[in-house]
Amino acid sequence: MTVESTAARKPRRSAGTKSTAGKRTTARNAPGTDPELVQLLTPEGQRVKNAEYDKYVAGVTPEELRGLYRDMVLTRRFDAEATSLQRQGELGLWASLLGQEAAQIGSGRALRDDDYVFPTYREHGVAWCRGVDPTNLLGMFRGVNNGGWDPNGNNFHLYTIVIGSQTLHATGYAMGIAKDGADSAVIAYFGDGASSQGDVAESFTFSAVYNAPVVFFCQNNQWAISEPTERQTRVPLYQRAQGFGFPGVRVDGNDVLACLAVTRWALERARNGEGPTLVEAYTYRMGAHTTSDDPTKYRADEEREAWEAKDPILRLRRHLETSNHTDDGFFAELEDESEALGRRVREAVRAMPDPDHFAIFENVYADGHALVDEERAQFAAYQASFADEGGN
């Protein structure tokens, strides 16, 4: 199947005429040209009216706008620091969120403290909104643990690496909220690649039939490692919801205001007992899948360049500047704060100790297990045998 032969698909605007063999050069239906796309800020930073969603951000003050900007800038700075730390050998791997700041900050800032988040392994911006210390995210990428925070501390579940699994956990958690009679909501993050997983389809089914208060927030960043969204779906992802009996909406994932508005709407539905919603945040993974990936093998520079023009941070900056919501001092202070964050993260990672050897045997079971006890004792005796030889 070629992209061109796919039925029921809108014609695409070509981003460039240069053809690079084997690589994509097509910019997919660009935000601003797609009537299905909810957008409140154009790439140029112009506020556009939206009859349906304006009311969800009507009360957003200039200070809050600056807050969203600050969140995005600091998240990007943290992300860049983590990428550098991987290159310096301090982290084994990093999954960058570069380009997806608006989708994550917009949705993350729509949440209440009592809501619960089920992230993938790329939700660094959402973690930031939840108050999870950024350095805690780095433990698993450094290889000192498999999840370094208490999920219940910030109602932010551990990163899930198996693609799509967390959407079922989110659904179950939401079913529990409904049983408790609470008005909290759950948000499940996943990507365009995960949309092909059976667990995601099953989570749609379960949440629909039990009317669970969950928002499925799909960041369609166009790429599942090397596979474009065309390899995952023949219909726009947000339309999948219709078949399961709940609404789906596509939002400009590089527009933080639109992401905030649409997520607020979806959360309101959940709280009102109206069940699940699918939000497809249409965005772009500007970096590699992870630091182990090489995007030059499968996509052309032109595509990235086209999306850079729609950068989520740049667009809000333009809006802040043209609306006179900021002064130079704001940007300068933020830059200092960014650098301080980078330094703090760098120092924290370098100071992160390797875990005690016996951590292997810790928390395998809550109530203990005879074999784990036996093997821990064997391991201890083995290690002690070196001390007996005077080696240590």
Partner: protein, 333 residues
């Protein structure tokens, strides 16, 4: 064991009914306990193990789920994160595999990867094993596939009393427990004393004392081993039958104690011998009891072939003669 509890408070009931009563008690005593699975509500499950529970506890606590095993276990994980204690039913052994991903990658590891912050009190009930003349995928014994996974506990009762009490203990456990129910013994009756203080969940029990050889088994094979011990007794051989009850952890101390007495061990399970629990038992008991053993540890179990059509299952499954043949071979050393 049943005779031990023949007190005023004990009742004779089928193994399936004992599980039903145990679930009922858990639902009554802990509002966080949920029962969920395919057809567990109105129908009471295809084996009627959950019969009447939805009627008494409502659809919110005894939940008919969509027909999606991964979804059942995945949502149970989410419910456990919210503070619930779900007991989920997988309708048949061969249908657990869509849920295997959630069980292995999520359920088993959640406690460890949260550094102990999160507990996963989830029971996965699986009717297992053959001998009922069923169609494909309805007669398998996949317990080793779960015992191999750190973070899971795996148990299998052999009688009504254990079914009742082990279910109580599994639900109270803060670890995920894979609860294998010997479906061909569902209708076997036994005395259940609902007030007796149970033994530990993961301790083996001597089902019959003997001196010449130990037969170790769990679930449906315990009854067979007791029959084998009866038959052997007629030939003057004294066999000890050890009901292991738990496959993970395995109670090696009890096996070792028995083997140090009898000096011979035969392990019996329906699951294929190759990489089965018998292999692990043989290796560890050889290591622990090397100077006590008079014969290599022998294993009796299924063959390395797909579970056969029902007309062949008697040839595939361990039967009385296959067990006694292994006993003879072990005694001949």
């Amino acid at each position: 064991m049943a005779e031990t509890f023949k007190a005023e408070t004990s009742t004779s009931m089928a193994l399936a009914k004992a599980i039903n009563e145990s679930l009922r008690r858990a639902l009554e005593t802990d509002p966080k306990v949920l029962v969920m699975g395919e057809d567990v509500g109105k129908l009471g499950g295809v084996f009627r193990v959950t019969d009447g529970l939805q009627k008494d506890f409502g659809e919110s606590r005894v939940i008919d789920t969509p027909l999606a095993e991964s979804g059942i276990v995945g949502t149970a994980i989410g419910l456990a994160l919210r503070g619930y204690r779900p007991v989920v039913e997988i309708q048949f052994d061969g249908f657990v595999f869509p849920a295997y991903d959630q069980i292995v990658t999520q359920l088993a590891k959640m406690h460890a990867r949260s550094l102990g912050k999160v507990k996963m009190p989830v029971v996965v009930r699986i009717p297992y094993g053959g001998g009922i003349g069923a169609v494909e995928h309805h007669s398998e014994s996949p317990e080793s596939l779960f015992a191999h996974v750190a973070g899971l506990k795996v148990v299998s009762p052999s009688n009504a009393s254990d079914a009742y009490w082990m279910m109580q203990q599994a639900i109270q456990s803060d670890d995920p427990v894979i609860f294998f129910e010997p479906k061909r013994r569902y209708w076997d009756k036994g005395e259940v004393n609902t007030e007796a203080i149970p033994g530990e969940l993961h301790k083996a029990q001597v089902a019959r004392e003997g001196t010449d050889l130990t037969l170790a088994a769990y679930g449906p094979m315990v009854k067979l081993c007791l029959e084998a011990a009866n038959a052997a007794a007629e030939e003057g051989k004294s066999l000890e039958v050890l009901d292991l009850r738990s496959v993970s952890p395995l109670d090696f101390d009890s096996i070792q104690a028995s083997v140090e007495k009898t000096r011979r061990l035969v392990v019996v399970h329906e699951a294929p011998v190759f990489f089965g629990s018998g292999a692990e038992i043989a290796a560890r008991i050889t290591e622990r009891c090397f100077y006590h053993l008079e014969a290599p540890v022998l294993r009796v179990g299924g063959y390395h072939a797909p579970y056969p059509p029902a007309r062949l299952e008697e040839e595939y499954l361990p039967g009385l003669d296959r067990v006694l043949d292994a006993v003879d071979r072990a005694l001949a050393y």
